[in-house]
Amino acid sequence: MTDPRLMLLSPGDSVYVLRDQIAVGEAVMVDGHTVTFAGALGLGHKIARVAVAAGQQVIKYGAPIGRASRAIAPGDHVHLHNLISDYTPTYALNKGDA
């Protein structure tokens, strides 16, 4: 079972996309497993659906959106701390968790 706020955009994607926000510490069901997050997550953020080894591609919209910079486990928030571009590095003022 998966929380209805998690949206799968394409069948082969390695991430879900949030259609609504998740509060700090809130229990969220991801494919039958309960996970919690250290910070609030806004809509549009990504949560891993499958494990991705460091250096492997992360898939969204059925297409690669970069590579895991460290191992990603199912249920992890996928963002600047564990995903990097194959093209130009990302510039952000903060950690992208505003």
Binding site: D20, G42, A63, I84, S85, D86, Y87, T90, A92
Partner: protein
């Protein structure tokens, strides 16, 4: 729909006077001239003192945009911009044109007075010009996205893409852009090209953008994009690409090239040659200005974080991708595509709403940003080579 027929056969959905400054030193005078009738007199201009072929072409295209009925050119007098040439180009279209040179007109106060008098005469004359019937196939529509977040590629951009498909099916020309925000989309995009040679041009344009931004050290990615859940430029690109819809890609144009017929066109906005003059488009309005220079009557602007801009000359339709942002900024947003995330509407329904709004706009309805008085405009230095023969297959 009814529009104003121009001598080149194009039809305008607005009929405004452009008050154009030809160097930053003339900006204040142009702004003061237009300030007394902002609804009918729109300020555009080029701030640089050094000559630039791109800026010259852009200003010529903008001063002969179908939404423009008359042009006031405000020159300081010593700048390098070729005011004689742009005046001649405007005059050749049959539009009234007036050149005011501040250094020859007694200075700031008297130039403003002379400009206001001329603009008032033109506005009165333009209000008497009859309109003609207009069809969807007369329209050129651009699309940009700005202030994107993780919702843009799921709601607003695909909904704009559906509106584009409907417009293209009805014979309109639609333009999508920012090759720097199509990085990672090369393979899926080239499969939609009308010819194999065009496919190669599309790929080359995106590869050029990737090299250009790589040299600059920053992608076309703002800090707020990351706050909104986007992590990499290719992720942002895949979302931005959704604005293009599903139609075949008919051609590749550069800023100022006017689509020769209906269809879907990619605009290559990244300069040619070595990196000069800095970032290709320093902010969203630079993209809207290039859309207008290629004849766009209006622009669809999809935003997740919440941009509030509009544009001089050609109205902007604001499409909110993020329902939370819509709740905060509804006074600036024409469409709430965020409803899709809440299950309150389908992408198809929002796409139809956008299509209907374009028709309403072209029939005289005003957009939110237009009503709020947003008339942003920015034009900076660039350099381009002309497009190759494969870019516009017959």
């Amino acid at each position: 729909m009814r529009g104003w027929l121009r001598s080149d056969g194009r039809k305008g959905i607005r009929n405004v006077v452009a008050a154009a400054y030809l160097v930053e030193c003339a900006h204040h005078v142009a702004r003061e001239v237009a300030a007394v009738d902002r609804e009918n007199a729109h300020v555009i201009g080029f701030p640089g003192c050094y000559p630039n072929a791109y800026a010259q072409k852009m200003m010529e295209r903008l001063c002969t945009h179908p939404n423009v009925g008359a042009v006031l050119l405000v020159s300081l007098g010593c700048e390098s911009f070729n005011r004689h040439q742009v005046a001649e180009v405007v005059r050749a279209t049959g539009r009234p044109v007036k050149v005011l040179v501040i250094q020859n007109s007694g200075g700031t106060r008297s130039t403003i007075a002379a400009g206001r008098e001329w603009v008032a005469e033109q506005v009165a004359a333009l209000s008497q010009v009859p309109t003609v019937p207009m069809a969807v196939s007369d329209l050129i529509v651009g699309t940009v996205c700005g202030g994107s977040d993780g919702t843009s590629g799921i709601t607003g951009n695909p909904a704009a893409g559906i509106a584009f498909d409907k417009l293209v099916a009805a014979g309109a020309a639609c333009i999508f852009e920012e090759t720097g925000e199509l990085i990672g989309c090369e393979a899926i995009m080239e499969a939609r090209a009308a010819t194999p040679a065009l496919a190669a041009e599309l790929r080359a344009a995106v590869e050029k953008a990737a090299r250009y931004y790589d040299t600059l050290g920053y992608g076309s990615f703002a800090s707020g994009n990351a706050d909104g859940g986007l992590t990499t430029i290719e992720e942002k690109s895949l979302g931005a690409y959704m604005k293009s819809g599903q139609s075949p890609i008919s051609g590749l144009i550069k800023p100022g090239d006017i689509p020769p017929k209906g269809g879907l066109y990619l605009m290559d906005v990244v300069p040619d040659g070595e990196v000069r003059f800095g970032f290709p488009n320093i902010s969203d309005n630079a993209e809207i200005v290039e859309m207008m220079a290629s004849g766009a009557h209006c622009t669809l602007f999809v935003t997740g974080r919440g941009s509030v801009v509009g544009s001089a000359l050609a109205p902007v339709i604001k499409i909110a991708a993020n329902p939370h942002m819509y709740a905060r900024l509804s006074e600036d947003m024409d469409v709430n595509a965020g409803r899709v995330l809440e299950g309150a509407a389908t992408l198809e329904e929002v796409g139809q709403e956008i299509f209907d709004l374009v028709i309403a706009l072209a029939s005289g309805t005003r957009s939110k940003s237009e009503d709020l008085g947003h008339q942003e405009f920015i034009l900076t230095y660039k350099s381009f080579e002309p497009i190759g023969p494969a870019c516009l297959p017959v």
